[in-house]
Assembly symmetry: C2
Homo-oligomer: 522 residues x 2
């Protein structure tokens, strides 16, 4: 059973921890300590939904599956961006839904959407609640109420096709739940974003998630071969073949649609055999540019490991506090992690080929300990953020992607914008964690003192970084989606005609605008 | 300079040839000979466009680039499906455009579309003219005239990015022209559909073409990282990164849009180094099912050669007339072609691994001669079709795709529908030429006596085969696109809500419906 996340923190409270003494000393030295006591959670504004509407909802899903109590609504309030956490920590839960509704089937979702149209209720699909871009913060104005459409009851593995190597999953399955069910069939999805422990299958599809093993398994959107979608105008069943020339690929219109075009009620994905062997290794590079060039060489040679990541000098140096993480004391330069998963023969062959390329380009292996250290802590960063927020240090991440030839410009632009906006002391770390033949992602982690108005302070820094991305011709998001936070820059990225097309699709599928209003579509 | 194709035949008249004596004997034995003399081409109906409209068009593109003479209009009439050829052979060129207009730039295309809206002219983008699904046959009713928007002057290689390994190409470049320009930069697109010698970059994108090297290079849509599109409402510039999570992937809405959403005026594609080595090889399998299982094993092991094809028993047997093509006299079973392209080391490594898998699964190598034979004749089949039509034998192809577990059902269904509809004597051949981890394509070649009403006869067979595809849950087209011919089945494939979305996008981008009216959107 997945532990529910409180709106002010990430993850399982049992895994929360104060900063270790050594890290606390480092934080104090760089930022100073500014303990922020937990705020007593206030009562929520009462649900605006009256008994008649709630009864109609209950008639669809059953009375046990409509919740208006404070605690359930609180646990479905917003996502997990640092601004989301800061608001909750300040006692602001104004975006709480009026009711949490838990359908059990595609048919119930369809009925709920029909009801939402009649009653003019905003419907916010809820999978794992891990959005970091405001994807769960729907417009309230103009609606008779806001429903959190909680997919927690839709957790079935509907089918496994061992010949085609596909599996059909319901959207409410969290990452570990999906992998556990697939493992009973000897297969894996291989999708492990940092949010893996909480994020859901439906959310992966709706946001075009990308996992830490994307080099080997591909982005989530590339895993999807079929989708079922419920809309206020009925259902779509998409995916007649792995690929085709039957017009535009409509699957690609619903992947990334963030609940604004419909509710994804099942996803058919490519699966692979469970890996027999997993090996992770660290490599050191003289510079970020050298390491990035090596990644590009691997991608363009068709020689990608399962995992391929590269920290810049600053992110590597931060890990110096733990020498094991970067392969020994006093190590300079940049740390790369390679990971190989599969059959022993496939792992051996790929690793040998990759090792030859990396060594030939001037990389130095620092052994498996550094790789294992990364693999062990791969889902822990959000807990560390909570601990930092507890002592008054603002921590947030943002990410983008571009073509290889534009990488330096993008890196300098975003880092420069963040450091200029935040001033001293601020730390900006960066890594590459998703690579393609033609380009890669850049993922930034930022830490700075919260100051008196952390929300506004971060808002300015985020805007400056976002401007830098679009000014560089890059994307506003490689794998965090648009939500509400990225809309102005998303509009610049796709241009007015792109926005017009999205609005046209939205108007067609959701004429009264009940689906996650205000999210994704600029 | 590309030779212009006459509407009644494929390709370069200098390469047309009567059936070789041996083949002629075989055709006579199976179908009988029924010589069909060439029909004198009648004069076209005069252009309905008056001088005032033509002057406005000339003001955009220059007077030398607007053509209303019969010969130019004839050469822009319809595409290259067998029905297209049969109509032209019967002297029916009723779908000829009223004028052929040749813009030289994106800006001129935008201006032409604005003019088309004002004058209510149907605009049919023309790249290579190789559509086999009626993609060049626009509605005439309700329009003031039909323009063939001939992209023949837009043939520049606009940019090559050797770091990102991308190239930006104008849409009018034919396959060989694009490859020749790219070769001067040491790179290749690697896209070689059977229509390669005539088809264009814009057409590849607009129809989601798939080439004979798709196993190694990918489908054309997977090569595209950026697009520029001109619409009646202005322009779109898409492609900020190799992949992203910035909403739905709008590139995937224009790929496959067949001129109905806009005119693609440039395409940025992934490129690769020109191969140093190319090796093709034949393999023999006891049955089609055995060969298909081997393809599936390779795809799911991540061990795909550059080229991977498999003929069924019937297609293999037809090639018995040329023993070299299948690796020796009296060979039974099914012929597979594997091809490896790249550096000597990469080719050697991949070939060794593939050979081990294929031999282990019961395949028998029949050597490189069979592979070379295939590679040598890979673009010749359409010429053979003309020779068969000359002697009264109807020849046409159709194709589909599905998931591996559905392959047998789909094969039996389509083959059964064709043979039942056409009766004796009819020949139905099939091959697999595009494979994915989760499924593959099926490509059928049909030959039968034309009879007295070949168009109607083929229409019934095509409808029966198309019904069988959709009944089997497969796609109506893996790489031939929708055009006008596939619309009823495309509508079944994506359902009423899918159709509604396409209509909404069309209405938004092309409110007066001037873009290739009647094509693609059901």
């Amino acid at each position: 059973m997945t532990v529910e996340m409180h709106p002010s923190r990430w993850g399982d409270p049992a895994r929360a921890a104060a900063l270790p003494a050594e890290a606390r000393g480092l934080v104090e030295m760089v930022f100073g300590l500014d303990e922020r006591p937990a705020v007593e959670q206030p009562a929520l504004a009462p649900s605006v939904l009256d008994g008649a509407v709630l009864a109609k909802i209950a008639a669809v899903v059953g009375p046990d599956h409509v919740h208006t109590d404070d605690e359930t609504r609180r646990l479905r309030t917003r996502g997990k961006s640092t601004p989301d956490l800061l608001k909750a920590r300040a006692g602001d839960l104004a975006d709480a839904p009026d009711a949490v509704v838990r359908p059990a089937s595609h048919e119930q979702v369809v009925e709920l959407l029909e009801l939402a149209v009649v009653e003019h209720l905003a419907v916010v699909p809820f999978g794992g609640g891990t959005s970091v871009t405001g994807g769960l913060v729907a417009l309230r104005e103009g609606y008779a109420g806001v429903l959190s459409l909680d997919l927690v009851r839709m957790k079935k593995l509907l089918a496994v096709d061992h010949v085609s190597m596909t599996a059909t999953l319901e959207p409410g399955l969290r990452g570990p739940e999906a992998e556990a069910l697939l493992a009973t069939e000897g297969v894996t999805l291989g999708h492990f974003p940092q949010s893996f422990e909480y994020a859901s299958i439906g959310g992966f599809a709706a946001t075009r998630s990308s996992g830490q093993s994307s080099a080997g398994f591909g982005r989530f959107d590339s895993l999807v071969v079929g989708l079922t979608v419920a809309t206020p105008r009925g259902s779509l069943e998409l995916g007649s073949a792995p690929a085709n020339a039957a017009g535009p690929d409509l699957r690609q219109l619903f992947l990334g649609s963030e609940g604004a075009f419909g509710v994804i009620t099942s996803v058919t994905v490519r699966v692979r055999p469970v890996a027999e062997v997993k090996v992770y290794e660290g490599w050191r590079w003289p510079s970020f540019a050298d390491g990035a060039a090596a990644m590009r060489t691997l991608a363009q040679a068709g020689l990608l490991p399962t995992v391929l990541r590269l920290s810049d000098e600053a992110e590597t140096a931060i890990n110096l506090a733990d020498p094991a993480a970067i392969g020994g004391e006093g190590a300079a330069g940049c740390l790369m992690i390679t990971g190989f998963e599969g059959t022993p023969a496939a792992v051996e062959a790929k690793r040998t080929a990759v090792t030859a390329v990396l060594a030939g380009l001037g990389g130095t292996s620092v052994g498996e300990a550094a790789g294992d250290k990364w693999a062990h802590g791969r889902f822990d960063a959000p807990y560390l953020r909570d601990s930092m927020l507890d002592v008054g240090v603002l921590v947030e991440t943002l990410e983008t992607a571009t073509f290889w030839s534009n990488l330096g410009t993008l890196y300098d632009g975003v880092k420069g914008a963040l450091t200029a906006e935040l001033g001293d002391p601020a730390i900006v770390l960066c890594h590459i964690s998703h690579v393609y033949e033609t380009g890669c992602s850049l993922y930034f982690t930022v830490a700075a003192p919260e100051g008196d108005a952390p929300l506004e302070r971060w808002g300015r820094a985020k805007a400056a970084a976002s401007d830098a991305m679009i000014d560089a011709g890059a994307t506003i998001t490689h794998h965090h989606a648009v939500g509400t936070d990225h809309k102005p820059w998303f509009a610049r990225e796709i241009g007015p005609l792109g926005v017009s097309v999205l609005r046209a699709v939205k108007a067609d599928l959701d004429p009264t605008g009940v689906l996650n209003p205000g999210v994704m579509v600029p």
